[in-house]
């Protein structure tokens, strides 16, 4: 958003509308919304008075019983209210930044709020959620529209407002005209489809039962958003009306529930014809969209406006945004109470104009809608029906004895050799009642190392297992309920979002499952838009799904949501030209230019560097891209402010030109130096006004300017079995840069394509702390290393098109008594429980370690909630909430029965990485071995009753020693085997960020035999048969010369062909006549029309499913080359420097007897 008076006249002009409320010389953006509303209401006219309207004989009686005088008064007023109150609306939320004064120093100059320049966007965005929901701030009496308290809202001239100039004027004016059209069209469809699906289950609402509702919403999933958008998008595309509605919705909704909810009902006839017909609600803007088939939750769901083109730098107190601070901590000053009072009273009234806008332009407003609307919810507000059921389900844990017994079966590792299950291990089911289990969070998203949480720290210590969570919060989901609601219902004390595991004490109160505080159910929440029934808060989708996504209102913004901004920083030194990545990168970007996540505001920029820094002017109107060279790398400056980051849509031709010519431009480069540091500083300066994503491509050690690095690796030490040096960064330049970036919401992703040592240890810091991702392609060369090239291309394809969330924060809350103490992953920990993620991508995962501070004896359930607040690439603020519920146990055997061996392994891996950096690698390895020793001895002394000799572990943990051995043989942690430092560090980075399943496949690959697959247990998906060969132990004794074996290592498949392999398999699957004719570097499986080939490919495709980055396949022949690839992964075997599985077990036994 542009500050008035900046270099951007048109965008600043558009915000001046508040001072010209009637739009005399209205700038385009003000006209936009005004046109939108009529068109929307026109479309609702298709079913005008809904068909079920006739079914209201009892309405008058009911309506008299409801004191709805208020609403009538309101509707009477509201016709001219819009005109009169236009200015006053701004006062309403002008108070909100005012309330912020104590907390945000930049706002701390109240005087500056009353300057001459009206500015709406920003002040509203700094509301605190808790202010909204804290009823103590919201006295009930409505004062009515009084005199304006603060006549003009203005924004203090931001220091350095010159950066607003980065938004090109043409961009900011181009879109508003388009948007209303987009919005009204789908709306129309949705409305017209609705009457057909309305059996009168609840006559008052004409609601379709869920079963019918779903397809409707499903098909029109996007429209539901768009319909609601007018109010939610108001912050962007309209003026402030919509936002007034939101900000006021909160406090009013949070008033103590009264017996006469209809006092809050207001009638705005036009709105009654709205899509969801939830006119009985007082704020009438609740639209709920349950969309079971959303593959991407916002795939086109939003029509984004362009008016928030450029963001303004605001204090980064996301801490308060996501709601970390408690309402109690608000300074309880008189001042504030007063403001809150007027705030609520204003809000309640001004809410109406937002909706009057449409009706005002229509003459056929039908007041009768009110009449049927209001009584009907009275009619259906029955006593809470399922209270007893629900609490029973919550409290009672029906045990699953047989599962538990199996998990607890003592396994003697020295005797049992076949430990692997036939299919890859699934996450253990928590021992919960069926109801809870059904709604619990997917283990792919949220997993706890102990699915039965020990009651006390003492019990946890006794179990000798780590307690922690593994999270994959932004994972691509097939199904995600997206909820648009005025008030996001949260616990008033701990700010937990309402979730399926809360207890409803009665119809109007719910008890938080994390802090046990009793909260009120807001009126709005009583209505369920899915079933269209009132009085069933426990049927709301928030309470039915453990993973939901809320569309956040402006309370959750510190600044207008940023557009998607991408900057590519490319190494064009001689080394890079030699490696030849540029051409493939440019091709890939060109190919995916239209698929880059974003909307019409998406901006893109390029920056190349060798010993100098080259900027590219891509301003629309130029005939070809201009290169601007800055050779002063000691004091980097930005040569031009508004033309380097350009709107992708407007400058697409220039961007394409640049991408086409870029590879050739530097083909003659002889410059061998690389000034990465200055280039990153330039990137930071370019991006800091908006935030966004910086993608760095680097092919060599940075040798010039700030952040230059020296080669620290001694190749002779690569296979040393002593410690590994230089696991810590050489300089803190990259870390500081990353922290600066994180503060400005810039995420830095690094693609390292170096064939030499490039000190990834130091470089990785730039991504680690700015929540970026790291990709490493050792020995990349476009000709000599086709495998890496293919991987690079595949990764790029995914990387460029994958979903992205900007300016995100994540907070993990857990039941009182549990506390999180260490985080693992790429982020910056801003406060003890708040992770700041400048960018969030669907492929990165996080881990946390927890301890039990107080006994959990109060409750039989422990809950964990991860809330990720982010800006979608369409400029929407969204909150994704995952809630996991686990039983609390007080028996050690139960703890072991619920242990999740894969999660434990991954958490231990993360802890080992930390240990190896802070202490030493050998320390970390010892700690891992000790973890096994501790478990076995703890189990032996505490649980196992029979005093048998040998290594006895519970069946749930039978794979633990195997996994730990596999961990010790990983590149990240191995010693003795020659490992390049960069590869080791990259493996460490991967451990920290890969989701659990991917990590487990990397640690302990899945091995299958392919040449004799039977159809036994095969899956039948659609019309393909996917055979399910059993898992094999990773040992050479399971591999025979006459077979073909597939090893799934997560990001790569190895298909090993034995010397005596069945010739039919070679011919039918690989298309080669015999073993000898298999080419040495075969990287694909040909699509042959033979049944065997089809089955193999079906199996491979099935394995590829649900994998973010598609894996490459290598066909490995049984010769010397296989030793370094295939046999390296057979972790149960002895290698030159590491012991075999049985030796490892013996070692454990020795350690135990010490």
């Amino acid at each position: 958003m542009s500050a008035p008076g900046s270099t951007n006249p048109s965008s600043s002009g558009s915000y001046s509308q508040s001072s010209t409320p009637n739009g005399g010389a209205a700038p385009p953006r003000q006209n936009g919304p005004a046109q939108t509303y009529p068109s929307m209401y026109a479309s609702t006219g298709y079913y005008g008075p809904p068909p079920h309207q006739q079914s209201y004989p009892t309405i008058p009686a009911h309506s008299t019983s409801v004191p709805n005088k208020t609403s009538i008064t309101n509707s009477a007023q509201s016709a001219n209210y819009y005109e009169n109150n236009h200015q006053q609306q701004h006062h309403v939320y002008s108070q909100q930044p005012f309330q912020q004064q104590q907390q945000h120093p930049p706002y701390a100059t109240p005087g500056s709020y009353y300057g001459q320049q009206p500015y709406h966007g920003v002040p509203t965005t700094v509301q605190h959620p808790q202010q909204q929901q804290n009823p103590s701030l919201v006295p009930a009496p409505a004062v009515g529209p009084g005199a304006p308290l603060y006549p003009i809202v203005s924004y203090p001239s931001v220091p350095g407002s010159g950066q607003y100039g980065t938004l090109s004027p043409s961009q900011s004016t181009s879109t508003p005209g388009v948007m209303p059209i987009q919005m009204s069209a789908p709306l129309h469809q949705y409305n017209s489809s609705q009457p057909t699906s309305t059996p009168p289950v609840h006559p008052g609402y004409g609601g379709a039962p869920p079963s019918q509702m779903v397809p409707t919403v499903n098909g029109q999933g996007t429209t539901a958003h768009q319909h609601y958008d007018p109010s939610h998008q108001a912050p962007q595309s309209y003026d402030s009306y919509g936002r007034v509605t939101h900000s006021t919705g909160g406090p009013a909704a949070d008033r103590p529930p009264s017996g006469t909810p209809s006092t809050s009902v207001h009638s705005s006839p036009g709105h009654h014809q709205g899509i969801y017909e939830i006119q009985i609600f007082k704020f009438q803007c609740l639209t709920l969209n349950v969309s079971p088939s959303f593959s991407l939750p916002y795939s086109g769901g939003e029509t984004s406006s362009s008016t928030t083109g450029s963001a303004s730098p605001l204090p980064n107190s996301y801490d308060s945004l996501e709601g970390g601070s408690y309402p109690d901590s608000m300074p309880p000053s008189n001042d504030m109470t007063n403001q809150a009072q007027s705030y609520s009273s204003y809000g309640y009234h001004t809410m109406q104009p937002a909706y009057r806008q449409g009706p005002a332009s229509r003459s056929d407003s039908s007041p009768s809608h009110d009449l049927y609307g209001q009584p009907s919810y009275q009619q259906y507000s029955q006593p809470f029906p399922d209270l007893s059921q629900l609490s029973a389900a919550l409290g009672g844990l029906s045990g699953v004895p047989e599962l538990e017994v199996e998990a607890l079966r003592p396994v003697n590792l020295l005797q049992e050799r076949n430990l692997l299950p036939p299919r890859p291990l699934e996450a253990p089911e928590p021992n919960l009642s069926a109801d809870l289990r059904k709604v619990n969070c997917s283990p792919q998203t949220f997993r706890c190392t102990l699915t039965s949480v020990p009651q006390t720290q003492a019990l946890l210590n006794k179990a000798r297992l780590p307690l922690g969570l593994l999270l994959h919060p932004f994972r691509d989901l097939q199904q995600l309920p997206v909820i648009t609601s005025n008030t996001i219902v949260r616990c008033r004390s701990c700010r937990t979002y309402i979730n399926p595991f809360v207890t409803f004490l009665d119809q109007r109160r719910w008890k938080c499952n994390l802090c046990y505080r009793v909260n009120d159910v807001p009126d709005e929440f009583m209505y369920n838009p899915v079933t269209r029934s009132y009085g069933e808060p426990h049927k709301r989708p928030e309470v039915q799904n453990a993973t939901v996504e809320f569309i956040a209102s402006s309370d959750y913004m510190l600044r207008p949501p940023q557009p998607a901004v991408y900057l590519f920083v490319l190494d064009v030194s001689h080394n890079a030209v030699e490696a030849g990545y540029l051409k493939y990168l440019c091709d890939s970007i060109l190919e995916n230019l239209d698929k880059l996540p974003g909307d019409t505001r998406t901006r893109i920029g390029f920056l190349t560097f060798d010993s100098t820094i080259h900027f590219y002017n891509l301003q629309e109107g130029l005939s070809q891209p201009q290169m601007l060279v800055v050779s002063d790398i000691d004091d980097v400056f930005i040569p031009s402010h508004d033309s380097l980051m350009v709107n992708l849509k407007e400058s697409k031709e220039l961007v394409k030109d640049l991408l086409t010519s870029l590879p050739a431009m530097f083909s003659q480069s002889r410059e061998t130096h690389s000034a990465l540091g200055p280039a990153l500083q330039a990137a930071f300066k370019l991006m800091s006004p908006t935030g966004g994503r910086v993608t760095v491509f680097l092919t060599q050690l940075p040798t010039l300017g700030a952040g230059m690095l020296q080669s620290r690796e001694d190749p002779n030490q690569r296979s040393s079995s002593k410690g590994v040096q230089h696991l810590g960064p050489a300089t803190d330049f990259y870390k500081k840069l990353a922290l600066d970036c994180s503060g400005q919401q810039i995420g830095v992703d690094l693609f390292l394509l170096s064939s030499q040592y490039a000190d990834l240890t130091s470089l990785a810091c730039m991504s680690k702390y700015s929540a970026g991702s790291i990709f490493y392609y050792p020995s990349f060369h476009h000709l000599h290393n086709p495998a890496q090239l293919e991987k690079f291309q595949r990764d790029l394809g995914r990387y460029l098109t994958r979903k992205i969330g900007f300016e995100a924060v994540m907070r993990i809350r857990c039941t009182k008594g549990l506390s999180i103490h260490t985080f693992h992953g790429n982020f910056f920990v801003r406060s003890t429980d708040l992770l700041s993620l400048a960018n969030v991508n669907p492929d990165s995962a996080f881990a946390v370690q927890m301890s039990i501070e107080d006994s959990l004896a109060d409750s039989s359930l422990a809950c964990f909630q991860a809330a990720l607040l982010y800006t979608s690439n369409k400029g929407k603020r969204r909150i994704r909430v995952h809630t996991l519920c686990l039983p609390v146990v007080n028996q050690l055997s139960d703890v072991y029965a619920g242990a999740d061996v894969q999660a434990i392994t991954c958490l231990l891996a993360n802890m080992a990485i930390d240990r190896s950096i802070s202490s030493s690698l050998s320390d970390a390895r010892d700690a891992l071995v000790n973890a096994v020793v501790d478990l076995v001895s703890a189990y032996k002394s505490n649980v196992s009753s029979l005093q048998q000799s040998g290594l006895v572990v519970p069946a749930s943990m039978r794979l633990f020693p195997l996994y730990i051995l596999a961990l010790l043989k990983q590149r990240a942690l191995r010693t003795g085997t020659s490992t390049r430092l960069d590869e080791r560090v990259f493996a460490m980075c991967e451990f920290k960020t890969q989701p659990l399943q991917q990590l487990m496949r990397m640690v302990h690959p899945d091995l299958y035999r392919l040449d004799n697959m039977s159809d036994q247990g095969a899956l039948h998906l659609n019309d393909t048969v996917v055979p399910q060969p059993p898992l094999l132990h990773l040992s050479a004794e399971r591999v025979s010369r006459d077979g073909a074996f597939l090893m799934d290592c997560g990001n790569v498949f190895y298909l090993w062909i034995g010397k005596c392999c069945n010739e039919m398999f070679i011919r039918d699957v690989l298309g080669c006549p015999n073993y000898a004719s298999i080419p040495p570097n075969m990287n694909h499986i040909p699509e042959l029309e033979t049944p065997l080939s089809e089955r193999v490919r079906a199996f491979l495709d099935w394995l590829q499913d649900n994998r973010a980055f598609s894996s490459t396949i290598h066909v490995v022949r049984d010769d010397a080359s296989a030793k370094s690839t295939f046999f390296l992964h057979l972790v149960e075997d002895r290698t030159d420097s590491a012991s075999s599985y049985s030796e490892f077990l013996q070692h454990i036994q020795q350690q135990m007897s010490k």
């Binding site: 300089t731 330049f733 922290l739 103490h821 985080f823 920990v829 003890t832």
Partner: protein, 120 residues
């Protein structure tokens, strides 16, 4: 006895320790270390060996602590990226409390030393 250099040292140390008590609470790392180093040198010059011996362990700890700080280009001890880890935070807090106790005790010790030297 008279107002000797040693008495002056004790008086100075008394005042500075009062400052250190606050620094230990606020975690002003470098000033704290420098002040502590400064009056250790003063005690060395005044040949107050016992007092110096009492302070030497802390001096050594300070040197070790600053040598083993995370890689940083600017002065400082705490790394923003790791300080929020509960174990490191707990360690730093515990360190602060221990130092606070030490400074409080040494405050009274210096008072005693000052009075002891000053009184005939």
């Amino acid at each position: 006895m008279a107002f000797t250099f040693a008495a002056f040292c004790y008086m100075l140390a008394l005042l500075l320790t009062a400052a250190l008590i606050f620094f230990a609470i606020w975690h002003l790392v470098l000033p704290e270390y420098l002040i502590h180093f400064f009056f250790c040198v003063m005690f060395f010059c005044a040949a107050e060996w016992l007092t110096l011996c009492l302070n030497l362990p802390l001096l050594a700890y300070h040197v070790w602590r600053y040598m083993s700080r995370p890689v940083m280009s600017c002065p400082g001890l705490y790394d923003p990226t790791t300080i929020m880890n509960a174990d490191i935070l707990a360690y730093c807090q515990k360190e602060g409390w221990c130092k606070l106790a030490f400074y409080l005790l040494s405050f009274f010790y210096y008072l005693y030393g000052y009075v002891f030297i000053f009184t005939p």
